[in-house]
């Protein structure tokens, strides 16, 4: 299985944000998060500052990939939807394409059926945008040229406090 590179160009980010915004309005979800299947956040909407999107992305991608492995043991290619129900907040996790997943966080103001319906629509739109994005060059503008040794050092330098 080959994993594709993901690039979010500025114009695509605007389009994805619009789709996520519409999804939140239609489904009455509190927040939506687009992540890649290795757990890295790509876009978000309605996310409050207190929400740790990095951790949520890593854990949701882990749960999704573990569930996909379970599905394969049952002869399915994957389970395309995961639903975690809490007392107040719930999470709906669904496939966008081979590389990305859509997370929706919602409460009692909506239902899982509504979320599922509109998540499917949003996923189709986002999948199309990412497909177009893949055809464009990965490194453009400031990132088009190779890095100098000094830039390399700064970009990869971690120091203890």
């Amino acid at each position: 299985m080959r994993v594709h590179d993901i690039v979010i160009h500025e114009a695509d980010a605007v389009r994805i944000d619009a789709v996520l915004g519409r999804f939140l309005a239609d489904s009455s979800c509190a927040a939506a998060l687009l992540i890649d299947r290795s757990g890295q956040p790509l876009a978000e909407s309605g996310v409050s500052r207190t929400l740790d999107t990095g951790s949520i992305g890593a854990l949701a991608a882990g749960a999704f990939s573990a569930t996909a492995a379970l599905a394969r043991l049952l002869g399915e290619s994957e389970f395309s939807v995961l639903f975690h129900e809490g007392v107040r907040e719930s999470m709906h996790v669904s496939t966008v394409d081979d590389d990305t997943i859509l997370l929706a966080i919602f409460d009692e103001r909506t239902t899982v059926g509504m979320v599922r319906l509109f998540a499917r629509e949003a996923s189709t739109s986002i999948g199309g945008i990412l497909e177009e994005s893949r055809k464009r060059p990965k490194r453009v503008g400031a990132l088009a040229a190779p890095l100098t040794a000094e830039e390399m050092r700064r970009a990869g330098d971690h120091r203890s406090a």
């Binding site: 080959r2 854990l59 882990g62 190779p146 406090a161």
Partner: protein
């Protein structure tokens, strides 16, 4: 597989700490988490069993200074080292940009290192990757213990052949070699992604 987000001006990389059980992969991340300033790290998550063995992965997001107006973020993961968790190791390797192989230097763990290294090779191939080209750093851990193999022997076991990769001695629990390892794998990942300008005299 790196992710470039031009809108958020962020470049994301995934680095996986691989190696046999109890070699010190989690200890590396714990030490990085303890020592990095708050602004350069996120929350560390450990999915472990009751006796502190890694069950699924540890996760720690860290960021460096950045380049050309973009923040460079590295998502650090560990895998469970125990042999029977191979399915889980494969899942964690998805989208990996660079690997740190944490080897246990003790004589009686050398076979485990070699088996884990072979296992890494097999699992990378599942994603169309291989040990000959992926950014890789060897870390020979537990150099403070008594019954350990000499560095030459560790290199002979795990770092020979056509491609010699950077290697470091380490004592992950006290931080020795931990940041050298992290900074080196970070730069290798950046070179692979962007290429490096060949400067005069370099």
């Amino acid at each position: 597989m790196s992710i470039i987000n031009y809108a958020a001006r962020v470049i994301n990389f995934k680095v996986v700490y691989y190696g046999p059980g109890l070699a010190g992969k989690t200890a590396n991340l714990q030490n990085i988490h303890q020592r990095l300033p708050d602004g350069n790290k996120g929350k560390m998550i450990s999915l472990a069993t009751g006796d502190d063995r890694t069950l699924f992965f540890d996760f720690l997001p860290v960021s460096a200074l950045g380049v050309r107006g973009f923040t460079t973020r590295f998502q650090l993961y560990t895998v469970p080292g125990q042999t029977h968790y191979n399915m889980t190791r494969k899942l964690v390797l998805r989208g990996v940009d660079g690997v740190v192989f944490v080897a246990d230097s003790q004589w009686d763990r050398l076979r485990d290192n070699v088996e884990s290294y072979r296992n890494l090779d097999e699992n990378l191939k599942e994603y169309g990757l291989n040990l000959a080209t992926i950014p890789l750093v060897m870390q020979y851990n537990k150099r403070d213990l008594d019954r350990i193999a000499p560095m030459d022997y560790m290199e002979f076991l795990l770092n020979r052949g056509e491609r010699r990769v950077p290697s470091f001695e380490a004592v992950a629990v006290d931080g020795t070699g931990v940041f050298d390892t992290l900074n080196t794998v970070s730069r290798l990942v950046l070179v692979k992604e962007f290429g490096q300008v060949q400067e005069a005299g370099a």
